[in-house]
């Protein structure tokens, strides 16, 4: 439903977006990750037809944004960066305005506005000027505007920025609830959001697409992925360390001691899963492990690894 085809944007000599292509089918929530200034917003602006690309194009539900922009934009709901809204208007006035430009009128318009306000929970401030609203409410007013016409395509630039944890949870639940019959792109800095929400994530840095994977695949790229950590009494630690290091598929065992207990971290070769072998060894050795945990790998590490590498190469 969203097809991005070789989008490139140059500002003078500066290459902001470098030949990005991807397709987002219906039912997918794609997370756009990347450091500030990586080209996330620029890409979204081009997909929505706000910025003309230097080359390449995008199609929304088959409508080319450059040659058939009006139809393409009609398919999409867009929350621009910072959720801009007319500050002198009330949320209801603002939504009425947006609904009219979406071609909704009369009862259909009122129904759409009620639904969007319900979904984003802004009913209580419907008659307050937007400039007097808190950051969280402003963001949700912008979100309501994007959801107004129940679009097939949703493009949300940092939808949860400025929300408190409860509101973030609500917005994620809202997006999850709609995901089945829409194609959604969200950009975010918050990596936990990728786990909570996205079915797929891409990492962009310096305008280039560096990774395109499901969240669990991204986790698998993390340095500590599938490390198994055990907490053992100090007395058993040395035996265990030797035994575990001898297991097939184990690269090395790291040991740290504190308060009469030792923590062993078993690092597998090639980040393969070794938790079964380790638990088997614990059982047969008769060790009294206080806890055994498997490291999923932190997305932060993957993110830093990928984006900083490009930075150094450039």
């Amino acid at each position: 439903m969203i097809e991005i085809d070789g989008l490139t944007k140059k500002f003078g000599q500066f290459l902001a977006v470098d030949n990005i292509s991807l397709t987002v089918p219906k039912g997918e929530v794609l997370g756009f990750l990347g450091p500030n200034g990586a080209g996330k917003s620029t890409t979204m602006k081009m997909v929505m037809g706000f910025l003309p690309p230097t080359s390449g194009t995008a199609r929304l539900c088959g409508h080319d944004i450059l040659t058939d922009g009006l139809a393409a934009r009609a398919m999409a709901g867009y929350l621009p960066e910072g959720a801009p809204a007319y500050s002198d208007m009330t949320p209801i006035g603002f939504l009425k305005f947006a609904a009219e430009l979406r071609g909704l009128s009369g009862a259909a318009r009122d129904k759409a506005i009620e639904r969007a306000m319900e979904q984003t929970q802004i009913g209580e401030v419907r008659l307050q000027p937007i400039e007097t609203l808190s950051k969280g409410f402003k963001r949700r007013v912008g979100l309501a505007q994007a959801l107004l016409h129940d679009p097939a395509v949703l493009i949300l630039d940092e939808p949860t920025d400025g929300l408190d944890p409860n509101q973030k949870h609500e917005v994620r639940r809202l997006i999850e609830g709609m995901a089945a019959d829409k194609a959604i792109i969200i950009s975010t800095h918050i990596l936990e959001e990728v786990d909570a929400l996205c079915t797929r994530a891409v990492i962009i840095a310096q305008g280039r697409l560096l990774a395109d994977a499901r969240p669990e695949e991204l986790h698998a790229m993390a340095p500590g992925h599938n490390n198994v950590s055990l907490l053992l009494p100090e007395a058993q630690a040395t035996t265990a360390e030797t035994a575990l290091a001898a297991l097939a598929g184990v690269e090395r065992v790291e040991k740290t001691s504190a308060d009469g207990a030792a923590r062993l971290v078993v690092v597998p070769q090639g980040r393969a899963s070794i938790v079964a072998a380790v638990t088997e060894a614990v059982r047969s050795g008769g060790w009294s492990a206080a806890d055994i945990t498997v490291d999923q790998g932190r997305l932060e590490d993957v993110f830093r690894h990928i984006t900083l590498d490009t930075h150094r190469a450039a």
């Binding site: 602006k45 929505m48 037809g49 706000f50 910025l51 003309p52 009006l70 139809a71 934009r73 009609a74 999409a76 867009y78 621009p80 960066e81 910072g82 801009p84 809204a85 007319y86 500050s87 002198d88 208007m89 006035g93 305005f97 947006a98 009219e100 430009l101 979406r102 071609g103 009128s105 912008g142 505007q145």
Partner: protein, 244 residues
């Protein structure tokens, strides 16, 4: 059409959302009244017409119209709403025209509120109301011309002060192009065709022609063309530099 209307309604309501609109209308009415009665000597000259009233309009508009037009696009840029507006399914033409018409309607309201001056001359004498009507039409058209210039220039920047100054400067050039001062400068050396071209570009010349009570098609075409040209430029500017 409905979309243009939606933009128009929002923009016009936007003018009245703050006290600025009322302050502006007050200033316009006080200034036009003061100029008409004190400097124009409406009562002392013993003629029942609104010549002194309309004579000051180009100069009044030169200062006041940029204040109306400066927010049209500069404000959208500054607050980022331009991105929201232009990614909604409406054409740039609809957005530009809707906003322009709102500013024009606002000016029309201010102009209509000068009706006590018209009542005054009707009470004191028997003016030719046809000429006065033509004067109002001419004044409205002239305001439209200035507003179109201001709308286009407001799309260049996110700073309303810059929009104001640029508009006042360009509007000044269009106003004085037909004055003897400018024409004398050209007539010494330039071919007659150029002199008459410069003169025909002048807002003042066309306004004065209408103000005499003659609604000539050429003057009408001049203002309509002026408005259309600058609104087209407005759309072009938006296309070239949407984000900033």
């Amino acid at each position: 059409m409905n979309k243009t209307l939606a933009v128009f309604k929002r923009e016009l309501a936007g003018y009245f959302a703050t006290p600025v609109a009322y302050v502006f209308i007050t200033i316009f009415l006080v200034l036009s009244g003061a100029l008409t009665f004190m400097m124009g000597n409406l009562l002392g000259r013993g003629q029942a017409d609104l010549q002194p009233f309309f004579n000051f309009h180009p100069w009044l508009y030169l200062v006041l119209i940029p204040a109306i037009s400066m927010r049209l696009w500069a404000e959208e840029r500054k607050s980022g709403t331009i991105e929201m507006l232009l990614t909604l399914p409406l054409t740039q033409c609809q957005a530009v025209v809707g906003k322009f018409l709102a500013a024009w309607a606002f000016t029309g309201i201010a102009l209509a509120l000068t009706f006590p001056v018209w009542i005054t001359v009707n009470v004191l004498g028997g003016p030719d109301n046809g000429v006065i009507f033509a004067g109002y039409i001419g004044s409205l058209l002239m305001a439209g011309g200035y507003l179109a210039i201001g709308s286009a220039l407001s799309a260049i920047t996110r700073n309303q002060v810059i929009a104001f100054v640029l508009t006042a400067a360009v509007a000044f050039v269009f106003t004085v192009a037909g004055t003897p001062m400018v024409l004398d400068f050209f007539s010494g050396w330039a071919p007659a065709a150029l002199v008459s071209t410069v003169a025909s570009l002048s807002i003042m010349t066309h306004f004065q022609a209408i103000q005499t009570g003659v609604l000539d098609l050429r003057d009408l075409i001049y203002f309509v063309t002026l408005i259309a040209l600058f609104l087209y430029a407005n759309a072009l500017i938006l296309d070239l530099r949407k984000a900033d």
